[in-house]
Each structure stands twice: as structure tokens, then as C-alpha cells.
Symmetry: C2
Subunit: 203 residues, 2 copies
DNA sequence: AGAATTATATGCGAATTCGTATAAATGTCG
DNA sequence: CGACATTTATACGAATTCGCATATAATTCT
């Protein structure tokens, strides 16, 4: 038996192509990004794109998932539990804001919140990825908060799920506000207040 | 001198046209809504649309502003100060969620957050409307919270601007999560926790 | 009544857009 | 070296999309 790859070998780098595609989707959104744009950015012809990823929606979803996986990993790393919850949460929000405002031009916010939200209504597959992704971020937060309760940094009766949900809400808002053009210090103020509120013990 | 309107009178109702246009933009977003769609929904021909509103972006912006003005008014009405801050904030979030999930089909969230965010990056005019709108909602919240501090419902040292910002964040998140397909009770839980957190007095 | 003014109706045209069909290229296996 | 498998290159076609150009309708002013 033989097991080597038959046929002409692929010339593109799948990961790199996804990254370039993400860049376009991230700033212009799904609907305003054409296959020609994607073809030019990835250096792949349209038939190659189709062969590698399927149609435009499939490529978009692959880009969303890659973004989410990397982002969830980065968040989990920060929330290692080595430092206080307060410190780690502040860093999560700070680093998220870095990403949301990273572009040299207008801030692009979060790929998922900023661009998948629009498509979610008419594209069930996108909606599902978005929902699952929001849930994934939230789960990481909730687990870390649960540990903080167990460690006594938060009150024993604190509501881990609820506090995680509020923390998620702040991230969603940072993403929206970044894309709306709000300045960095406005976003930082929100983060500061939120961390204070979330980490404050009961009266 | 004469001052009556010359020429053929307009047949369309500007307000109604804007409402119908908003409906399309709200569910499909700006980029995925064509002028033909808008023409069909408003019962106006494309030249009439152009004459009445300008190009597609101008029509979109008019729809955004109309939506914002109505929404800010509704919010201001609820935050009249006749009841406790806690009660009024809970109603704001509850009524907002009603709107975000009103559609018979997939939830559409907030027209501004759900659809203007994507366009904001490449369309400065949209970005400005979005930013101003977020600010307008926030200002109404902040004023009401300031009153609650003066009335003693909140601590005298409470940070009105900060608490308003967090309340805004929760609304942004409700809008995003609605569009992501999250169920009503998940949104309500977030609202409940947030109101508790925001209205809780210091330890 | 007729001229002037403004709105609506119809339709054209240039440009995009997306998927695929066909042909050429580049590798492996016998 | 030749048959086969798979990717890339080129190009086509059908459908949209948007703005405008031209023609028609409805109203007011003289």
C-alpha cells in the first residue's frame, strides 16, 4: 500500500490564508468583503479558496473559529490563577482593549462581536458560532471567578455565573465602543469601574 | 408674494418610509440591504429614495438617527425619577430586551449596536452617529444615577459616570447576545445581576 | 389655459460579485 | 517513462447592484 499525497501539492498556507482573510473580514465585515478581495489578500485564486474552505460563508466561519480559539486561549492564560482575580481581570480587559484598538486606522473592535453579530440574524451557522463563542469566553471567566470564591477573594455567596456574565458584558461593550471610535481612556475607565464593582465584597 | 409648494406633491410618508427602511437594515444590516429591497419595502422608486434621502448611506443614517431619538426618549421616560433607581433601571433593561427580541424570527438586537458597528470602521459618518448615540444613552443614565446619589439611594461617593458606563455596557451586551440567539432568561439573569451590582451600597 | 416646477415611472449601462467550467500545471504511483 | 490524481490558472455567465438619464404625471403661478 502507498500513502503519500497524490496530485499537485497545495501552494498556500492554510493558517496564513485564514489570518489574511480575517484581517479583511475584521475591518470591513462579511458582506462588504468580496471574494476578489480575499483572493488578492490570500494570494489564492477563487477556485483555490473554494477548494480549501468552501464558499464565502464557510471561509468566514473558519476565520471566526480560528480567532475565537486563539482569543479564548489567550484569556485562559491570563486567568491562570497565579495572581489575584482583580489583577487578572484587569489584565484581561486591558489586553482585550489592546486588541480592539490595535489597528493603525479606525479601531476594529472584536471580530466576532463587531462583524458576526450582523450576519447572525440571517445566517444560522454564524449565529451558532457567535453564541458558542460568547459562551466559551464566559465559561473561562466563570471558572476563574468560582476559584476566587473558593479562595475567599470573593464572598462565599457571590454569584459566579452572574459575575462572569457581567464581565462578559463589559468586554462586549469594549468591543462595541472601540468600533464606535471612543478613545482609549474612556474604555479604560469602564474597565476600572467594572473590576471594582465585580471584585467588591458584599456590604 | 406666493409661498405654496410648487410642483407635484410627494406621495410618500417620510416617517413611514424610514420605519420600513429601518426594518430591513435592522435585520440584514446595511451592506446586505439593497436599494431594490428598500425600494420595494418603502413603495418608493429608487429615484424617489434618492431625492428624499440621498444615497444609501444617507438613508441608513437617517434611519439610525430616527431609531436613536425614539429610543432615547423611551429611556428618558422610564427614568423619570418617580420610582427608585433600582426599579427604573430594571425596567430600562427589561424593555430594551423586549425590543431586542421583538422579532418573530431571529432576534435582531439593537439597530445601532447590531448593524452600525460593522459599518463604523469604513464609514466615518456612521461611526460618528454611533458614537454620539452611545453617548446620548449614557448621558440619560448618568443623569438619573446622579439624582439617585443626591437622593441618597446610592452612596454619596458613588461614581455616577462609572455606574452609567457599566449600565450602558449591560445594554450593549444584551443587544449582542440577543442577536447571537441567546434565550430570554439568560438576558434577564444578566440584567438582574447587573442591577443588583449597580444599586448596591458600599461595604 | 399655458408655463414653470417638482415628483414619479421606466429603463439603461457600467461595474461587481460569486460560483463553476475548462484547461494547464505539478506532483505520485506503477 | 506514462497513467493518474490533485491543485492552480483563466475565463465565462448569470445575477445583482447602484446611479442616472429620460419621459411622464401632478400641482402652482401667471
Amino acid at each position: 500500500m502507498t500513502n503519500a499525497k497524490r496530485g499537485r501539492p497545495v501552494q498556500y498556507d492554510r493558517e496564513q490564508a485564514l489570518e489574511r482573510a480575517s484581517d479583511l473580514f475584521w475591518s470591513a465585515g462579511f458582506a462588504a468583503t468580496s471574494l476578489d478581495d480575499l483572493s488578492a489578500a490570500t494570494q489564492m485564486t477563487r477556485p483555490s479558496l473554494a477548494g480549501a474552505f468552501g464558499d464565502k460563508e464557510a471561509l468566514y466561519i473558519a476565520a471566526l473559529m480560528r480567532y475565537r480559539d486563539a482569543s479564548v486561549d489567550a484569556m485562559r492564560e491570563i486567568l491562570s490563577g497565579k495572581r489575584s482575580l482583580r489583577t487578572e481581570l484587569a489584565e484581561v480587559l486591558d489586553k482585550a482593549t489592546d486588541v480592539y484598538m490595535a489597528s493603525a486606522d479606525a479601531a476594529r473592535g472584536c471580530l466576532l462581536i463587531g462583524t458576526a453579530s450582523v450576519e447572525a440574524v440571517h445566517r444560522p451557522a454564524v449565529r451558532q458560532v457567535l453564541q458558542e463563542s460568547l459562551g466559551a469566553f464566559n465559561a473561562v471567566l466563570e471558572e476563574r471567578i468560582r476559584n476566587a470564591i473558593a479562595d475567599g477573594e470573593l464572598d462565599p455567596e457571590a454569584n459566579a455565573a452572574g459575575l462572569a456574565s457581567v464581565t462578559s458584558a463589559v468586554m462586549h461593550s469594549l468591543a462595541v465602543r472601540a468600533r464606535a471610535g471612543e478613545p482609549r481612556d474612556a474604555l479604560d475607565k469602564l474597565s476600572d469601574v467594572a473590576v471594582d464593582l465585580i471584585c467588591r465584597k458584599r456590604p
